[in-house]
């Protein structure tokens, strides 16, 4: 009886920061064993990115690291040293998947290209997540979440028409690339488990964000028109935050009924969806007296009961109190020897007949003994030497 969907799958994880680690977090939550290979001394850069409890930096207490690396094992290994590479190759022999998110030249320069690794282990699936992909004129250029968002065409349509365009908050493009990496890895793993022959998965963060276009690309391809930044929704203040209301044709009368202003139905300024967009400020002025007297969750509930697809602008605080999230048991509490008991976002899905597993993130090099000694046969004294030599 299989307990986890990916029971028995072994993953070697060279990734850092967000995109790669989110990919391997999904694999580990689904039951794969993920061995995270970190730089000796400092480890994954996410250990420095926080947030930190009481704003006191600590390698073992970075919120981003703790969240992204649940369930993984950590070994320290200097893969820029010959000995480190030799050890890595021993580990490669035994795994199903290797995931990395370095700049494209790094793995080939280290002698760890897919050509070489697949000779060592023909069934291996190697997944590379990079900013621009493994080839093309931009492949070695530097990038960041904002620059990729700009190049994808998505930034051009977000924000106020009179101001600079906006990026989405946080790093959603990198997270999405992690999910895309997970999907590509599973496709290759499925094939490799049948044929015994692996594959190389090339995921570009830019291409991932690019394919998230809803309308702008199709608009240009079909009509030659460039979509402009427009207000697509009313944002109304409540007494404790904001709600967003979009009003399509069938729903317009329901909004009138909700706020008790039937005379607006006759108002020419608001007759069609596009005219409502143009006169959004004026429309908001009518709606705000209703919303400002209510909390955002109350306005959300009443609006939904009236058949309107209203949402409220939720903060992390709101979500931790959400009855829906509580019902779904989305948040989980995990204990950690240094960071203590904390509540974490969980997995956004449930399997009907399988579980997910989300144990705590590892301490830096926590599993050196388990992996190097028990699995690879090094002695404790060897580990001391390797540490002194800067290999682990």
């Amino acid at each position: 009886m299989v307990e986890y969907p990916l029971q028995g799958v072994k993953v070697l994880d060279l990734t850092t920061s967000i995109a790669g680690p989110y990919c391997t977090k999904l694999l580990s939550a689904l039951g794969a064993e993920v061995i995270k290979v970190e730089k000796p001394g400092s480890g994954d850069v996410a250990r420095t990115m926080g947030p930190f409890p009481c704003d006191v930096p600590d390698t073992e207490k970075s919120g981003l690291f703790l969240y992204l690396n649940t369930n993984k094992k950590s070994i320290t290994l200097n893969i820029e040293s010959k000995t480190g590479i030799a050890i890595l190759k021993k580990l490669v022999l035994d795994v199903d998947v290797l995931v990395e998110n370095f700049e494209p030249k790094v793995m080939p320069e280290l002698g760890l290209s897919y050509e070489i690794l697949s000779k060592i282990n023909p069934k291996i699936v190697m997944t590379s997540i990079s900013n621009f992909g493994q080839n093309g004129p931009y492949k070695d250029f530097k990038a960041s979440e904002i620059t990729i968002f700009a190049l994808s065409g998505l930034m051009d349509i977000l924000g106020d028409s009179g101001k600079e365009p906006l990026k989405l908050g946080g790093s959603p493009g990198q997270y999405a690339a992690g999910v895309m990496g997970f999907t590509g890895t599973m496709a290759a793993l499925l094939n490799s488990s049948q044929t015994g022959s692996g594959d190389y998965v090339d995921i570009s963060i830019l291409e991932t964000v690019l394919c998230c276009h809803f309308q702008a690309l199709a608009q240009y391809a079909y009509t030659g028109e460039i979509l402009k930044r427009i207000r697509s929704m009313l944002i109304c203040p409540c007494n404790d935050g904001f709600i967003g209301i979009t009003v399509q044709e069938t729903q317009w009368p329901r909004l009138q009924a909700l706020i008790g202003m039937p005379q607006l139905l006759e108002d020419d300024r608001f007759k069609t969806m596009s005219s409502r967009r143009i006169h959004a400020d004026e429309l908001e002025a009518y709606v705000i007296p209703w919303t400002i007297e209510r909390t955002k969750e109350e306005a959300y509930r009443l609006g939904q009961e009236a058949g309107l697809p209203i949402g409220y602008v939720a903060t992390a605080k709101d979500l931790l109190r959400s009855e829906q999230y509580e019902f779904r048991e989305y948040f989980i509490e995990i204990d950690h020897p240094v960071a203590g008991k904390l509540v974490y976002p969980g997995m956004p899905f449930k399997f009907s007949n399988c579980q997910c597993t989300q144990e705590r993130a590892p301490l830096l090099g926590e599993h050196n003994k388990e992996i190097f000694c028990q699995r690879l046969g090094y002695s404790q004294k060897d580990l001391v030497k390797l540490t002194q030599q800067g290999v682990i």
């Binding site: 969240y67 992204l68 904002i146 700009a150 895309m180 590509g184 240009y220 967003g244």
Partner: protein, 412 residues
């Protein structure tokens, strides 16, 4: 056997999230059958928002909708009324010979059709069902109406998106939809992998709202650890500076720049012919740059404002600096890097003409991508699916058409 090109997917989904998941699976060469009905085709066929070739709806506008044609490439299409017994029977027969069912209806709809997972599982214990609902299939808000834009709000993404000290800025990106679609495709493949060992399918219940919260996980950690509610910070970064969007020459032209090291700062100053700033006490180290980024932003803006956004981007990239021009749709299609990667594909649709679309980002060294086939017209593959796959006779199919159980045009 679970070779991807022998997998059959029944795509009951509409709008964006589900169709996107199935588009990814179709790109992996799975056989995807998009299932609509004439009474209720995918709403994007009829709510095309004027997105027709050259804005002309034509004789059959439901086959010319840009968003449908984008999201449903590489799929077969049938139109069958699941609300009548014969239609439901056809669907059940298809479930018997398929591997995956994807749906993104509101929480209770599959139940109302009498086609919830327990029914499908009885018919085919190996069937894998993926439900991509807004908030999950059960729970006090599972019945709430949602779509991409309000899921950005409900999931926590919008509270950190916007100009500083202003009300949140709603996007028209519908980002939660493709995000959920990516999860959906990956989870379907995971279930196929597990099924190899167990022979059994499963039902996966994904909440788009929760999927959105996952990508702002660190904001949850900040509240849990510090009781702090993060707010929107425009185009600034938590710790990188300078970092933002700068006005360039021309109407609404901008370039984004992110400086992440002393070296990048030094290279930027050289490009701007302001080497005096490199070691200036206000800007020499990363902390002082962060504290004085307002001043730096003005200096950079002064430098970019007279330059073409693409040219300044290229100068910056060549100098080892992270930069990206804010490209509009036409420029995106023309981006030399994306063109060289074949990130777009040209597809000819029999009723909508030939257009460029973003190709699947799932690329492999060995596994081939699906050949780019156009999205199906409504009911286009009725005869193939009912005749070849379900072994119905021509007479049987004609009778179903006559009764209105199947068809190829919308009806009221």
């Amino acid at each position: 056997m679970t070779r991807l090109d022998q997998i059959r997917v029944l795509d009951l989904s509409r709008y964006y999230a589900g169709p996107f998941a199935c588009w990814l699976l179709a790109g992996l060469r799975a056989q995807v059958i998009k299932i609509e009905s004439c009474r209720q085709p995918d709403p994007l066929r009829l709510e095309a928002r004027g997105l027709y070739p050259d804005k002309e709806p034509g004789q059959k506008p439901w086959n010319r909708s840009g968003m449908i044609n984008d999201r449903n490439r590489n799929k077969l299409g049938i139109a069958v009324d699941l609300a009548v017994p014969e239609g439901k029977g056809i669907f059940i027969d298809l479930v018997k010979i398929s591997d995956i069912v994807v749906e993104n209806f509101q929480a209770d709809v599959m139940n109302k059709f009498g086609l919830a997972y327990p029914v499908l599982q009885e018919v085919n214990p190996a069937i894998i069902m993926i439900s991509l609902s807004s908030q999950g299939l059960r729970g006090p808000e599972s019945h709430c109406r949602s779509f991409g834009a309000n899921l950005e709000q409900l999931g926590g993404l919008l509270s950190i998106t916007g100009y500083p000290d202003e009300p949140p800025y709603i996007s028209s990106l519908s980002f939660p939809d493709p995000l959920a679609g990516m999860y959906g495709a990956g989870l379907a493949l995971t279930a196929l992998y597990t099924r190899r060992k167990t022979g059994k399918g499963t039902h996966i219940d994904l909440s788009q709202r929760e999927a959105t919260t996952c990508v702002v996980g660190e904001t949850v950690m900040d509240f849990v650890m510090n009781g702090r509610v993060q707010s929107a910070n425009g185009n600034r970064h938590q710790f990188m500076a300078p970092h933002g969007c700068y006005k360039c020459w021309g109407d609404d032209r901008w370039v984004t720049i992110a400086i992440d090291s002393d070296e990048a700062w030094s290279n930027l100053c050289k490009l701007m012919a302001r080497t005096d700033l490199i070691d200036h006490p206000k800007f020499a180290d990363s902390l002082s740059r962060y504290q004085n980024q307002g001043e730096i932003d003005v200096i950079i803006g002064g430098w970019t404002q007279s330059q073409d956004h693409y040219q300044v981007q290229n100068k910056l990239l060549e100098a080892g600096i992270a930069a990206g021009a804010v490209l509009d749709a036409s420029e995106t299609f023309d981006n030399p890097h994306l063109k060289s990667r074949n990130s777009f594909e040209s597809i000819s649709h029999p009723e909508a003409g030939t257009h460029l679309y973003a190709a699947t980002p799932l690329r492999f060294a060995k596994q081939e991508r699906a050949a780019g086939r156009p999205a199906p017209r409504l009911g286009e593959h009725n005869y193939y699916v009912f005749g070849e796959l379900l072994k119905m006779t021509q007479a049987q199919i004609a009778e179903l058409e006559r009764k209105g159980v199947i068809g190829s045009a919308p009806v009221k």
